[in-house]
Amino acid sequence: MFSFSLDRTAASLRGCRRFLLHPSGWQHLTLAVALLVLAPLTVLLLSWTEPAWGIWQHLRETLLSQLLINTFILVVGVTTGTLLLGVSLAWLTGACEFPGRTHFSWLLLLPLAMPTYVLAFVFLGLFDYSGPIQIPLRAWFGRDLWIPDIRSASGVVLVMSLALYPYVYLLTRNAFSTQGKRALEAAQSLGCSPTAGFFRVVLPMARPWIAGGATLVLMEALADFGAVSIFNFDTFTTAIYKAWFGFFSLAAAGQLSTLLVSMVFLLIVLEQKLRKRMRFSQSRVTAQAERIILNSAKKWLATSYCSGVLLIAFFLPALQLLRWSLKVFDLEFDNRYGMLLGRSLSLGLTAALFITVVATLLAYAGRRHPDRLTLSLIRISTLGYALPGTVLAVGIFMPLAALDNFLIDFARENFNFALPQLMQGTIIIMLLAYLIRFMAAGYKSIDSAMHRVTSNIDEASRLMGLRGLKLLVKVHLPMLRGGIFTALTLVFVDVMKEMPITLMTRPFGWDTLAVKIYELTSEGEWERAALPALTLLLCGLLPIVLLMRGTEGK
C-alpha cells in the first residue's frame, strides 16, 4: 500500500517535471484556459491600486450598509427557505410512498426551468394592485384589506426560495433514496423509533448533500442580478451594475466585485470540502432502498403539499405567462421578436459549440496527462461557475478595454493611424466570459463520459488494428456522444437564460431575449415581457428532460 502510493507520488512528480520542462500542446491549452479564468480575478484585485475613494465615500454614506443588510437577509432567508422546501420534498419523494410520488419526483424539478428573474416579474405581476390576486381579494373582503407588499425583502426571499429549492431537493433526494431506509433500519435495530432514527441518522448522513445543495443555492443567490433588480432590492450585483453604468466608474465596480468574490470564494472552499465528505459517505448499496409507506391521512397531506409547492413555484406562473403572452401575441409576435429569438439562439449555439470544443480538449488533456499540475490547472479552469455574472463582466471588460485603448494609442502615436476598437463591443468578450462562467457545466458532462473510455479500451482497439483518427471516430466519439450532447444542451440553455454578462458586455443595441426582459421589466411592462420569458421557459425544460433521463437510467 505504502510503496504503491510512493510510486504514484513519484510518477506524479515526474509528470509535473515533464510539464515544466517540455509541456505538450495539451498542457499549453490547460494553462491558457486556467490563466483566462484567473485573469479577471487578478484584474479585479489590481483595481484596488486606484481606489475610487470618491465613489466609496458616496457609497458609504448612502448604500453600503443597506447592501450588507440586504445581502445578509438574502443569504439567511434563501438558505432557510430552500432548505425547508428542498429537504422536506426530498424526504417525501426520496424515501416515502404516497399517491403521485413517482410523478412528483421529477415534476418538482420543473422550477429549474424558470429563470429567477422570470419568476420574480410574474410574482410582481400576479400580486400587483391591479393583478389577478388583489382584485378578487378586495372584491371579497373590501377595499381596506391589508395585503403584504410583495415588493419587499420577504418577497425576494420567497421568489428565490421557490426558484432555487430544486438544487437542495435534487442532491438530498439522491442521498435519501440510496441510504434512507437502510440507515433507518440499522437505527431501529439499535432501539430507535423511526422518527428518532430520522433525526439521529438519516438527516445527519445526508448533511454533506444538503449543505452541498445549499452552497449552490447561495452562489446563485449572491450572483443573482435579474430578480433583485426587478424587486429593486439592492445587492452587490446591482451595485456593481450601477457603479459601472450609473457612475461610469469601472474601478468602483471592480472594487465592489472583489467584495462579492471573496464571499463566493468562501463558499467554494466549503463546497470542495463537502464534496470530499460526500465521497466518504457514499453508501455501497446502489439498489434503491425500500420506501416508507405513509398511512391514510399523511399520504394525502404529502400529495397536497407537493402539489401546492409545484403550483405556486411553476404551474401558476407558467399559466400566467401563457395568459399574458396570448394577450399581447398579436402586438409582440413580430419581426423584432424574431430578431431577438434569432440572436439568442445563434449566441447560445455559438457559445455552446465553442465551450464544448474547449471542454472536450480539456478532458483529453486530463486523460493524456493525469499529473497533478495538469489536473489542478483543469480544476482552476472550471472554477468560473462560481463567479457572479456581473463580476465576470467587469473582470473581463477591464483588461480588454485597457488593451484596446493601448493599441489605439499605440497606433495613433506611432503610425498616425486611427485604429477602431477591436474587442470592446464585440461578441468575443461575451464568448470569453461565457467560456469562463459555463466551462464547468460543459466539462463535467464530457469528463464523466470520458471516464468510461479507459486506457484498456484504447489498448483493446489497438489490438484490433484501430488507431489514430479511426480510433477517435469509431470508438471515442460514439462513447462520448452522450456527454457531448449533454454539454451542448446545458451550455446552450445557460447562455440563453444568462442576463448580466450579456447585458453588460453586449455590443451597443444588441438585444437578446434575456436583455429584452430586463428592459421591459425595469419599466414594469410585465405583459410584454411574457413572450420572451415563455420562450426561455420552454428552452429551460430541455436540461430537465436530460436530468430525468439520467436519473431514470440509474
Binding site: 437502510r182 435495530s189 439499535l190 432501539g191 430507535c192
Partner: protein
C-alpha cells in the same frame, strides 16, 4: 453477555408465512433456537431466507404464524412489536455503519439511557471484544472491510440483545478473510453464550459457524439439523445434491442390504427401509470412491482438478453415469485414461425415485 432464561427458547418461529403481493415467499416455516445456540438459514438467493430474518427483526409484516423472542410474542398476523422494542441486534450485509459517526459513536449508538461511565465501559468492552480499541476515533471509511464487519458486530452486541441476527455477514469479504473472520465470530458468540441466527448462501460459512442449519428452498426449510447430519444423513435428494459434493447414481435394491448400481453391488446400512426391487437414487460422495488399480470396476477420467493434497477426478462409469473421486495427489492420471476404482461406503443414502 446475557444470562438467558434456560427454560425458554430464545427464538421460536411457529408456522410463519410471508408474501409479496400474491407471491408466497415463506411457507409455514417453523424453527426453534435455544439459548446460546447459533442457527443458520442456508439457501440460494431468492429462497426467502433474508425475508425470514427481516421478519424476525420486525421490518416485514407477517401473513400468518407467530414469532416469539425469549418467550414473548413479537409478531403475528395482526400484531407487530416495533423493531426498536424487540431487543435484537442486527448485522447488515453492507454493515450499514453510520458514516458520519466515529467507530466509538457507532458502537455507542444503541446505548441510550445509560450514564456516561456505563456507556464508556460497554463501548470499550465491545471494541475490546473485536480488537478495535485502538481505532475507536476513526471513521468507517478509514478502516478496512474486515474491520468494518467487526465494528458492525460490536455495534449490534453492545446493547446486549436477546438475539443477534446477521444477514450474509461475510459476503463482502475476500475468501481468506471470510474464513478467518467466520471462525472468530463463532468464538466470540460462543464465549459469551449469545444466541444468533444468520443467513448465508455459502455452505462453508454455515458449517464453520452454525450449530444448526436450515436448508431453505422456495420459502420452506427442507431440513433443520446439524452440519454433520445434513452432510451424512440428508433427508431428501435435494438436500443431498445441495449440501457438499457428490452425485446421485440410479440403482435397484437387492436382498441382504445390497444395492446394484454403476459401481457394482454395494453393501451397507440403509438410511431407510426399502422393499426389494425398488428403483432408487444413491448418494455417492467423492470420498466414497477409492482409487484401486486392481479393481474390476473401471472408469474413464474426464477431468482432473488438482487441489494440492488431493486430486478430484470427474469419471465416467461404463454405465455412462458420472462420479467424482477424491484421490491422493500422487496418483496422477490424465484425462482419457482408464483407472480402477472401488466403492467404499458403509452407510448407504438411498432415495426412492418419486
Amino acid at each position: 453477555m446475557i444470562m438467558n432464561d434456560k427454560t425458554q427458547p430464545s427464538l421460536e418461529l411457529k408456522k410463519i408465512s410471508q408474501a409479496y403481493g400474491k407471491q408466497r415467499v415463506v411457507k409455514d416455516l417453523s424453527l426453534t433456537l435455544n439459548p446460546g445456540e447459533i442457527g443458520c438459514l442456508l439457501g440460494a438467493s431468492g429462497c426467502g431466507k433474508t425475508t425470514v430474518l427481516r421478519t424476525i427483526a420486525g421490518f416485514e409484516p407477517l401473513l400468518a404464524g407467530e414469532i416469539f423472542i425469549s418467550g414473548e410474542k413479537v409478531s403475528s398476523a395482526d400484531f407487530s412489536l416495533p423493531p426498536a422494542k424487540r431487543k435484537i441486534g442486527m448485522v447488515f450485509q453492507d454493515y450499514a455503519l453510520f458514516p458520519h459517526l466515529s467507530l466509538f459513536d457507532n458502537v455507542a449508538f444503541g446505548l441510550r439511557g445509560h450514564n456516561k461511565v456505563e456507556t464508556l465501559r460497554r463501548v470499550n468492552d465491545a471494541l475490546d471484544l473485536v480488537g478495535l480499541q485502538s481505532e475507536r476515533e476513526k471513521f468507517p471509511h478509514e478502516i478496512s472491510g474486515g474491520q468494518q464487519q467487526r465494528v458492525a458486530l460490536a455495534r449490534a452486541l453492545s446493547p446486549q440483545p436477546e438475539l443477534l441476527l446477521m444477514d450474509e455477514p461475510f459476503s463482502n469479504l475476500d475468501v481468506a478473510l471470510r474464513e478467518r473472520l467466520s471462525l472468530e465470530v463463532r468464538d466470540i458468540l460462543k464465549h459469551y453464550g449469545i444466541t444468533a441466527l444468520f443467513v448465508t448462501h455459502n455452505q462453508h460459512e454455515a458449517f464453520a459457524v452454525a450449530d444448526r442449519i436450515g436448508v431453505m428452498h422456495t420459502g420452506e426449510i427442507l431440513q433443520w439439523d446439524t452440519a454433520h447430519r445434513l452432510y451424512h444423513q440428508p433427508v431428501s435428494a435435494k438436500i443431498a445434491e445441495f449440501v457438499g459434493e457428490g452425485v446421485l447414481l440410479s440403482g435397484v435394491v437387492r436382498e441382504n442390504s445390497q444395492v446394484e448400481c454403476g459401481l457394482g453391488r454395494l453393501t451397507g446400512i440403509f438410511n431407510q427401509a426399502l422393499a426389494v426391487n425398488t428403483a432408487v437414487q444413491i448418494l455417492v460422495r467423492p470420498e466414497d470412491v477409492v482409487h484401486d488399480d486392481d479393481s474390476s470396476v473401471k472408469a474413464k477420467v474426464l477431468r482432473r482438478n488438482f487441489r494440492g493434497a488431493n486430486i478430484l477426478y470427474q469419471l465416467r462409469l461404463e454405465s455412462g453415469e458420472h462420479v467424482q473421486a477424491l484421490v491422493p495427489s500422487h496418483c496422477d492420471h490424465q484425462p482419457g485414461e482408464l483407472i480402477g476404482i472401488q466403492p467404499d461406503v458403509r452407510h448407504l443414502i438411498l432415495f426412492p425415485f418419486p
